[in-house]
Amino acid sequence: MAKSNYKLAKSSFPSAEDVHQVTLSNGITVLARSNFNSPSISMGGYLPAGAIFESDEKLGLADFVSTSLMRGTQTRNFDQIYNELESVGASMGFDSGVHNTNFGGRALVEDLPLLLQLLAESLQTPTFPNDEIERLRAQLLTGLALRAQDTSEMSSLVFEEILYENHPYGRPNDGFVETIQSITRDDMEKFHRLFFGPRGMVIAIVGAIQPKQAVEAVEKFFGAWQVEGQKEAQELPPLNPIKKIVKRHHTIEEKSQSDLVIGTLAPTRKSEDYMAASLGNSVLGQFGMMGRIGNVVREKSGLAYYAYSSLNSGIGPGSWEVNAGVNPKNLNKAIDLVEKELKKFVKQGVTKNELEDSKANYIGRLPLSLESNGGVVSAILNIHRYELGMDYYQRYESLVRSVKREDVVEVARKYIDPSKLVIATAGP
């Protein structure tokens, strides 16, 4: 029997030896890794053209631009682009966040050149055809109408508005009806001209291809891309932490379930506090059937189908939040239970057993998260984005094991103050 153990698994994790990293002369970083187990490849990446550049009046512009990229280029129209992709069972897409425009796709390995060619065209020579923009606008506005009816989305939107007041993280990436209506083709063309370019772009390719060939393919389609005056983003403005419990309810009539988000700020992904906070969060609202929160709200009280906590850490200050969907009449009861758990978490931290359980889970589940090409693409993009070091997955086990109970309670107290929480709810 091919005896498997963690040591064997570890040797198959991405490392400096098998992730090929090259920076092209125009500043594009290429990351590539082979996996010949399946005849397919996954591709993903980003470039620093996010919502941070938008004005309040044009909220949703980066998002609108990213969804327009495949609606027409100097070489192909919308139908031709998708016909090329769909005919060979390939897929590709764009979206945007505060910092970046992200892209991703997959194909059979023989179609990688096609995928890269369409990616290059979409990023470098989009034409923003008027009729396509108007079609998209109608779709985006319908998306906003549906968002307005969605208790989960609206509670999150309200939560972020309060937690990140006067900060780019507090603005919804998909904008508002008025801002989407006000965006013109000129706005989009200008946004693309100023912020899209090779500097800061990262692309990762994983699959049935030698890394060197992958790099050559990227060089072929992107090597000549030059953009003069590509603008750089400003630093994130400082954030004013909330000073008390701030509670807000957003009414959506005739819904049978309400959603709630309770939380506060979290460390950045690069912060030294991250691993302790992440393990603490696992105990609080992830491990097993959604941790302590799931146990109290779902298992013991039967109040919700889902109740969990999450730590959303990125470039800037993240959020540490508890989410649940409950019957409107049980909303206050659920809020009380969650607040009580947060108080307990901050006061007592986690037990030795709880921490050991979560550590074992973090170490044991790694092979699963790195199983597919797509999983490896996001892992190596994260390593690059948050400067974790290409040996991150080799060090991962010792990083997890080094977290002590004291570390967890310390970060819990540093970030969570039960007297200073945002409590956002949406429903009838």
């Binding site: 109408a145 208790t151 039967g302 092979p367």
Partner: protein
Amino acid sequence: MKNNITQVTLKNGMKVMLKEIHTAPIISSWIWYKVGSRDEPTGKTGISHWTEHMMFKGTKKFPSGTLDKAISRDGGRWNASTSRDSTRYFETMPADKIDLALRLEADRMQNTIITEKEVASERTVIISEREGSENEPTFQLSEAVQHAAFRVHSYHHEIIGDRADLLTITRDDLYNHYKTYYVPNNAILCLAGDFDTKTMLKKVKALYEKIPKGKIPPRMIRPEPPQKGEVRLSVEGPGETAFTQIAYHITNATHPDYFPIQVMESLLNGASGLSYKTARLYRALVDKEYAVDVSGWSESNIDPTLYRITITHRPDKTPEQALAVFDDEIKKIQNELITKEEITRAVKQAKAVFAYGSENITHQAFWMGYTSMFADYSWYTTYVDKLAKVTPQDVQRVAQTYLQPSNRVVGVYIPKGRG
């Protein structure tokens, strides 16, 4: 595709399927029970799904609250789901930890403890799950269409069950359901991943062969009579966005027409798992600005099922206008032969989707069991070949046979907020 699997039936009638894959130190284990929402009589709708929830409540060996922790501690991922035809449980574990999953499933096949207290607490959890779905206009529409399409067959109700039954199903109902259907000769265990087949089979036999077999539970079979005339319905609710769902009765997954129907679907609304922006319906409805989206899908079921298309409407066009354009597209595929190239395209799409799926061991174990619910594994391994044999004439014939107004239900979600 090579059919490199081992299939064994244990002495107690339990079927075991094993597929060695040595690409990653992972094993996925799925156990499938032949019971789903179709087996529920009126008054007990939702009981299969509720029983699935109760299977997480523990046994004497793995008491309540320890099951999930045991799996998570070992770095595993596990879950369960209930469909119309089956109930299935899976664990995907680091390869050296799979024993836990095997022991756990063998134990809870026989020894799950179902208490009044746990049933009471789970009742509100499940009602909450239903309320979450009810928040979505498309769930409400889908449920109404399903009800109208199946008057006799027990595909009539949604898997989650009707609220009235969720309020009245008792602990004994759940326990009886569990005892009736959770017997080894009603189960299939599917394992894929990094193991040696002989060694693994030995382990499986040691754990499962001693479980006494039960009576083979009967399946509920009430064939749906042919629909005689188009059914139209509407659902009203909050919001500003209207939706239309069109559902045609189609065949089950083993009928010879199944594959031509798959090609027809991929032409009309795109291949499963891929974008669909060059599909005929998208071009006609979205590109021409009659709708903001149109998507379609069908289930692969034991009994004849539905092919559904959902249109998300634009505020400046009525559902009737969009439906007229939709009907023109249906007429086109009925009247004009498709090209051979269109079939080649559908085949290539399917090949790619299969290649993506083979990156994932959980996915591969899933397919062994999934196909065993209505056919056998060769259904999966010969899928692409069967697709390639479909002719333009086949597609035209199934379009003419199944896509008839008298064979469909058309449901519209009318938003009360639009004024």
